[in-house]
Amino acid sequence: MTGPLTILALILSGIGLAYLAVTDPKRRRAFAQPVLERRRWKLVARLLVFLPGFGLAFLGDVAAVIIWLGAITVLGWGIAALSPLHIDALKSKSREAAGNYAMRLAGLATPLRAAAGVVLGSLSWALSKGVERVTPGQVPVLVLPSRRGDSARIAELEARVVALEAALADLAPATEIAVEMPAPPLALAGNAS
């Protein structure tokens, strides 16, 4: 059980660490993100980080505790090293990928419908002729739908809109930051924060 328990504990701790990172005031100042207006649940997040480790210790799984202690340092580094810029880039890339995927799905829709038409057509023909009489040679070449339906065109257009939005989102933050960022003295270790 050491492996699954450790992974579960790391996921929970990772959520806590991610929350602490995203809401960290110094980090937000350094990247010119707006001050967090809602309440920061720091204690809850810290509990979420550490309680899984205590849980493993309570279960008596010493190996899992040691692995958790080691892995949490690497996980914490990984989470902290992802700057808001990286996160924005990842978001836009994933949106772009989602858009591409949607377009591919839309592109697949027509052949899928055609394939379904072949199957259903064959089935209805077979039923009308009687299943026992169907042989490969007798299956007729079905007429594929030559006119694309409205729903397919709508799906394709929607996918294109998603892709364009993703491209726009990718451009927008860089422009904004380049214009707005230089001013504030950043959170240097010595005097800020």
Binding site: V62, G70, A80
Partner: protein
């Protein structure tokens, strides 16, 4: 974190920076090879193939042992050790201790057998001194052996290699402590990533962030590593000299708690298979090795070493009487009675090797090693960035880039040489030579007017993609055979290399290249952060 005045901070910065810079490349070699060596056993299975059975000794070995013992010089029956090799064969060593005329040092002298795990028949056998037998036998395990040697003693002859790695362990500890004292806002900066890509302050951010998180386990791994290096190279010989008149064998036996059999009356060994079964039943897992002292005497003892059970950090060692197979009790790691010292020493191994919970702990330790490698390289990078207006430091920056990429490339080179020479050559010789040749090739790749990072990336990616193919073409275990034999390691390492190569080749920067003009700050501020006086 700790309030220091400016002068002390400057001194600490100098110690931290210069020690890291002077020893940095060696530190990087030790740390990265250590991260890879965590998977030495898996690399052994991947590289040499074979029919690996379940972990631990589960085979019937009583009859083969008796057959071999009957034909062996009785002096070699003083100590018998049985273990399992990564290729599934049973390793049976029967030996006494004698001075090796070639080295002038005490060495194991006797016979070594590799037995077929199914039939118990000898597959290979040697006679002579242990060090010579190891050299003859080294071919199939040359790759895993080389990686371990490189990590343990940087391929420098004993004891100097161990002393060197011990010093490197101390250097990491010094760097950890000085870094902790220099960086006053350790907790507050724990979530502050690098701001921008190219500026000095970004280099500082990257190094500080990685080292902040790596600090506790970095220190732990360095401490345990230095302990092993110094214990073997200096500690034990000094203790042997002071307390045992220079007899290291006697000292080892006393410290470990292996007592010579008191009753030397001839008596047959009880069924070893029965003892193995009972020990397995008591602990819950089969032993990974067995030691028999005083074979054929009434005072013979059988010691069985079991790996850690699920959820435990330490293994279990049980002792049985060899004459009447009665259970003598659990044996501590050191001496014959439990002690705090024994418990601490027992913890050193699992905490350094990360092998206490199978793949889960090994993956975690690999990640820790990779993080520490990053800390070393990013630290050196930051140091030279501050001095890049001087030609000598610009050349050193070049050397850092070549080392950073060259080491993993050279490790791939050693693996390639191993595969090419395993079927008919001498892998023991050619595996380190492959490393050397690839390292020289890496230097040539690094030469040129442009930043060599992109060239290295492509060469490294292609090497990663080519290695599984080379392994397959040179007669390595096929995926179908690996699946049939339950050798997940073969497929996993192949896939890992292919994935790494593909990612590096097609996705040079997963986050895209962004200019760092977003957050314009003075480069000099990066220096000031470290050198500021305490509040």
């Amino acid at each position: 974190m700790i309030a220091l005045d400016q002068a002390r901070t400057k001194r600490l910065t100098a110690i931290h920076g210069w020690s890291g810079t002077i020893l940095g490349v060696l530190l990087y070699v030790v740390v990265l090879t250590g991260a890879v060596a965590v998977f030495a056993e898996e690399i052994g299975v991947w590289s040499q193939g074979g029919t690996r059975s379940a972990n631990g000794i589960t085979e019937l070995i009583d009859r083969p042992l008796r057959d071999i013992a009957r034909e062996t010089d009785p002096r070699a029956l003083e100590e018998i050790s049985i273990s399992k090799r990564t290729d599934g064969a049973i390793r049976l060593s029967l030996h006494t201790h004698a001075e090796n005329p070639a080295t002038g040092e005490s060495d194991e002298f006797g016979a070594l057998y590799y037995l077929d795990p199914q039939t118990g028949e000898p597959l290979r056998q040697w006679e002579g001194f242990s060090s010579e037998m190891r050299r003859d036998d080294g071919g199939r395990i040359a790759l895993e052996r080389f990686l371990i040697d490189l990590h343990v003693q940087l391929y420098v002859p004993a004891p100097w290699g161990l002393i060197l790695t011990g010093i490197l362990g101390l250097a990491i500890m010094v760097a950890s402590v000085s870094g902790l004292m220099m960086h006053r806002h350790l907790i507050r900066d724990a979530f502050l990533p690098a701001r921008g890509n190219q500026r000095l302050v970004s280099a500082r951010d990257r190094h500080v962030l990685a080292s902040t998180w790596s600090l506790p386990f970095g220190f732990l791994l360095a401490f345990t590593g230095a302990f092993f290096s110094f214990a073997i190279s200096l500690g034990l010989p000094i203790v042997a000299m002071v307390a045992f008149g220079g007899d290291q064998q006697e000292m080892v036996e006393q410290v470990i708690g292996i007592e010579a059999p008191a009753d030397k009356t001839p008596a047959p060994l009880a069924s070893l298979d029965y003892i193995l079964a009972e020990s397995t039943e008591r602990v819950g897992t089969p032993p990974v090795s067995v030691a028999i002292a005083g074979y054929g005497t009434a005072g013979a003892t059988v010691t069985l070493f079991h790996p850690p059970d699920n959820g435990a950090l330490l293994g279990t060692t049980l002792m049985f009487s060899g004459a009447d197979r009665s259970f003598l009790g659990e044996k501590p790691a050191l001496c014959t009675v439990p002690s705090a010292g024994s418990a601490v020493v027992s913890l050193m191994g699992p905490l350094h090797f990360g092998n206490f919970a199978g793949l889960t702990s090994k993956i975690a330790w690999l990640a820790l090693g990779a993080a520490m490698s990053y800390v070393v390289i990013s630290g050196m990078h930051m140091w030279v960035r501050r001095r890049e207006d001087q030609a000598v430091w610009r050349r050193f920056a070049w050397a850092i880039t070549i080392s950073a990429w060259g080491l993993p490339l050279a490790m791939l080179g050693s693996a390639a040489a191993f595969f090419l020479t395993l079927p008919a050559g001498d892998p023991t010789f050619w595996t380190p030579m492959g490393f050397l040749i690839a390292a020289i090739a890496a230097i040539f790749v690094g030469l040129g007017p442009q930043d060599p990072s992109d060239r290295f990336r492509v060469v490294f990616a292609v090497s990663c993609l080519a290695l599984p193919l080379l392994r397959h073409l040179t007669g390595g275990t096929a995926w179908s055979d690996a699946l049939a034999g339950g050798q997940v390691e073969v497929i996993s390492i192949d896939l890992l290399l292919l994935a790494l190569g593909a990612v590096l080749l097609w996705q040079p920067n997963p986050f895209g290249r962004r200019e760092d003009g977003e957050h314009r700050r003075s480069d000099q501020r990066g220096d000031e952060i470290v050198l500021e006086p305490a509040e």
